[in-house]
């Protein structure tokens, strides 16, 4: 592990979250997992969206970035494709990822870049005082719609490679899922999607309800996370039974986006020395092509 210079940089801020917020668990587990993995802070690029969870990058030593609302995935993909050596982790809430940013989630499931995406799902818009979110159940405030399930969405894409759900109230399991997600992306296996049930103690305290409903699918005898059809069936069945499946729900194989479009024979875009003359021959070819 590279030692960091002694230069003083920003001091991670104290979280803005309410006491008891599930996001504290996510921060703790992430920090521990990075340490376990031996990922030094300077290689760790941590991008977050907008919302309570979208401040988490301020609380960890990292190259942190605060994206526009809903755009954390494309921004993270841009960073990963420009420099695949970086450990790129995106974070955000259920509003950021499943409402304003839902289009990007769909295309990230499809394109499978090797980044980890942590969605802290509290089933409401906490930062704007508790409005219904895409995952709010029917009857929450005036919500008449049925809440969405991101794991089912992910399962419906034949391109997905890692779908997991954790619960902030189960830190031990969350840590193993976080480690598995980071290992997946560090190995260049593609997109690691980790939804974390993270109750909002102020506007929608689901802590007890979720603790009673969560169901560790990995403890189920015979459950095979590489069987997409069965995973889909079991998630649906458990939902019918008013249970919430948690654990590593699906793990598959598919070429990662950066392996498809980054030229491995050349220095990565971000690492090329600006102004070097190494590609002059290609430029000359371009000119020749237009000379006729």
């Amino acid at each position: 592990m590279t030692t960091e210079p002694k230069t003083k940089t920003f001091t991670p801020a104290r979280p803005i979250w309410c006491a008891g917020c599930g996001d504290f668990a996510v921060r703790g587990v992430l920090e521990k997992s990075l340490e376990n993995m031996g990922i030094p802070p300077h290689k760790f690029m941590f991008l977050a969206g907008i919302g309570c969870s979208g401040t988490i990058q301020n609380n960890i030593k990292c190259y942190g970035y605060h994206s526009l609302h809903g755009r954390v995935l494309p921004t993270s993909i841009g960073a990963k494709l420009a420099n695949p050596d970086l450990t790129v982790v995106a974070a955000g809430g259920d509003g950021d990822g499943f409402a304003i940013g839902a289009g990007h989630l769909v295309h990230t499931f499809k394109s499978n870049p090797s980044i980890t995406y942590i969605v802290m799902n509290n089933s409401n818009y906490g930062l704007t005082k508790g409005q219904a979110s895409p995952t709010s159940p029917t009857g929450y405030r005036d919500n008449a719609e049925t809440g969405m399930d991101s794991i089912l969405l992910g399962l419906s894409f034949p391109s997905t490679t890692f779908l997991a759900r954790g619960f902030s109230g189960n830190a031990a399991q969350l840590e193993s899922l976080m480690m598995a997600a980071l290992e997946h992306t560090e190995a260049g296996r593609g997109f690691a999607f980790l939804e974390v049930l993270s109750p909002c103690v102020t506007y929608y305290d689901t802590h007890r309800e979720w603790r009673a409903k969560v169901y560790n699918i990995n403890e189920e005898e015979g459950f095979d996370p590489t069987d997409r059809a069965n995973a889909f069936k079991r998630v649906l069945e458990l939902k019918e039974e008013k249970r919430i499946p948690i654990g590593l729900i699906f793990k598959g194989e598919n070429t990662a986006l950066e392996k498809l479009i980054v030229n491995e024979n050349e220095t990565y875009p971000a690492l090329q020395e600006i102004g070097h003359t190494g590609h002059r021959a290609e430029y000359d070819k371009f000119i020749k092509a237009y000379l006729g």
């Binding site: 210079p5 970035y65 494309p74 921004t75 600006i274 590609h279």
Partner: protein, 601 residues
């Protein structure tokens, strides 16, 4: 000028091929342009198509000439009409010297459509294509043979161009097209148009080789040559060639090109790549640029270097996607919520596109802000000859970056440190010791969110002052014409070529003028305002309904009573003759004492 066997030698000729969309007008023109370029003439081509693959009236025009021109002239030398509508639509550009090749498969041309003296060659291209080849598709290649003969091209050169154009599409397609060309040559023989006996003679006039390239391709190459290595785009007319060109070339230099799911992803993915230190660009047109507004404002606030190309088309909304306009100027200069710095550069021809994109890429990196390149459909997509770009003239200057060694020497590293020049040196992710926070929230020097009023003032000034700081090195405009004259022109983008040619014609009418082609319109350079104020009157040509350019000059201190605003927004490309007529009318009004008050909508 005429050659020794009596045929006029080409000095300036315009050929238009018109028919229904899908008839292949553009293919004929593109191949003609290649042939004329190879003969040592300069060429400029224009496309007039609808936003659909088949059907609707479509036309393409090629002008071949000696000298330096970047527009289509007012007159058509040769009209290739693949249907009757092609004749009626273009009749007003024809005169007694014009030659018309007409596809009479559906009947002969009604009397009275052509001017007196114009020469008509009628031949059933479509019928021959259907009868001989069973494919209507090949009628343009048949017509090509006849047109080539009329223009004095060698059969062998035509065949070579066909091979060049079609061989990448496979031997079968090439063979069919060569067969069609042969049919066309045979038709020409039957009409007595023998090889070397065309209406004109081409003599190689310019010994230098020229690129045949469109503005979008030049922008793409400028970015690449400036060390640009990351590009995102979502296909949108008329910007798509930037994406396609870079898709083909950039990966060879280790660059990444990503076609995104929408422009929101396009601009934000570009920002993500730029954060890592890669030189980054995205390209779009009005609707996409509107979607990108939140992102470009964020780049201004978070101090992320980014180049955005806006290939403007007729707006608002979906507008007329294939028609040129310059109506996003307000959006480029004033768009986005809140105040943030940005530069807006305005190239005028493909060569300018190349060098200004190099500048844009350097400037974005140096000043850590968004730089916009204001294109228009004509500048973007019209193919023209230009001098080969000189790579030795390209200077690539990196921005203020910190290596691990640089960081280690510092006591404290702050991403947004206040400094004399308002630019904070930055360490890219991956640099040991350079951990930092980047955000579009107002922030302190470390990048931590801050609403402290004193910090807010200093940060806002740090960012906004970059525009004043940069003025000394932003691309200067170019002056043309009679500098003693008190009558000026200002126009950008495609108007460059039109204004220069209109000035020549006005000169012949005894009206001496000068022209400033501004190449930076934001921040406004003093030279632009000084140019206006040095004239008695300046014709500001705006390709938009709102007189956006004229109003911008007034807003920036130009004397209002010196500006005569001419606006055009019918979607048609300007012809020099139309501009000359407008200027003569305005000048006549002045002579008649009708005042010259600024004329704004």
């Amino acid at each position: 000028m005429s050659s020794n066997n009596g045929q006029p030698v080409l000095e300036d000729i315009s050929v238009i091929v018109a028919g229904q969309g899908g008839d292949g007008s553009l293919t004929v023109i593109t191949m003609l342009a290649d042939l004329f370029r190879n003969s040592g003439l300069n060429v400029y081509t224009e496309r007039d198509v609808l936003s659909r693959i088949r059907g609707g009236h479509a036309a393409a025009t090629m002008r071949a000439f000696t000298g330096h021109r970047y527009c289509i002239g007012s007159k058509i030398t040769l009209l290739v009409a693949l249907d009757e509508e092609a004749v009626t639509k273009n009749a007003r550009h024809l005169d007694s010297d014009s030659v018309i090749v007409f596809d009479d498969s559906s009947g002969s041309l009604p009397k009275g459509l052509l001017p007196q003296g114009a020469k008509l060659y009628a031949a059933p291209f479509n019928r021959i294509a259907m009868r001989t080849m069973r494919r209507e598709l090949y009628k343009n290649s048949i017509a090509f043979g006849m047109v080539g003969r009329l223009l004095g091209l060698e059969d062998e050169h035509m065949r070579e161009t066909f091979v060049k154009r079609f061989e990448r599409r496979g031997q079968v397609i090439l063979d069919y097209n060569l067969e069609a060309l042969g049919l066309g040559l045979h038709m020409a023989d039957e009409l007595g148009i023998k090889q070397g006996k065309g209406l004109y003679k081409i003599e190689r006039t310019d010994p230098e080789e020229h690129l045949l390239i469109m503005g979008n391709e030049s922008v793409a190459f400028g970015f690449m040559a400036a060390g640009g290595r990351f590009f995102t785009g979502y296909p949108i007319t008329p910007s798509t060639e930037v994406l396609e060109t870079l898709q083909k070339w950039l990966p060879k230099c280790g660059g990444v090109v990503r076609q995104t799911e929408d422009e929101l992803a396009g601009v934000n993915m570009a920002i993500g790549a730029a954060l890592t230190g890669a030189r980054t660009m995205t390209a779009t047109s009005g609707p996409g640029f509107s979607l990108m507004q939140e992102g470009v404002g964020h780049a201004g606030s978070a101090e992320v270097p980014l180049v955005v190309v806006d290939c403007q088309r007729s707006g608002p909304s979906t507008g007329m996607p294939t028609r040129p306009e310059q109506s996003d100027l307000n959006l480029m200069v004033f768009g986005g919520h809140g105040d943030f710095p940005r530069f807006v550069l305005t190239p005028g021809h493909p060569e300018d596109c190349f060098y200004l994109t190099v500048d844009a890429t350097n400037l974005a990196d140096k000043y850590q802000l968004p730089v916009f390149i204001a294109m228009d459909q004509a500048l973007s997509q019209n193919i023209a000859t230009v001098k080969p770009f000189n790579l030795d003239e390209v200077t690539v200057t990196p921005g203020k970056r910190l290596t691990a060694e640089d960081v280690a020497k510092l006591d404290t590293y702050k991403r947004y440190s206040f400094s004399e020049d308002n630019i904070s040196a930055f360490a890219a992710p991956g640099t040991p010791g350079g951990m930092s926070l980047v955000t579009g929230n107002e922030h302190d020097e470390f990048g931590l969110v801050s609403t402290d009023p004193d910090n807010r003032l200093r940060m806002m000034e740090k960012r906004m002052n970059k525009m004043e700081d940069a003025k000394k090195e932003l691309p200067k405009g170019r002056l043309f014409g009679d500098q003693e004259s008190k009558i000026g022109f200002i126009g950008i983008g495609m108007m460059y070529g039109v204004i220069l040619e209109a000035m020549e014609e006005l000169e012949q009418e005894g009206i001496h003028t000068k022209y400033l082609q501004p190449r930076t319109i934001w921040p406004m350079l003093d030279e632009t305002i000084e140019f206006i104020n040095s004239c008695d009157r300046v014709y500001v040509i705006d390709l938009n309904a709102g007189a956006q350019l004229a109003r911008l000059f007034m807003h920036q201190g130009a004397e209002k009573n010196k500006i005569i605003s001419i606006t055009r927004y019918d979607g048609l490309p300007y012809r020099p003759g139309i501009l000359v007529k407008q200027i003569l009318e305005e000048e006549a009004k002045l002579l008649n004492g009708q005042g010259k008050e600024a004329k704004l909508l």
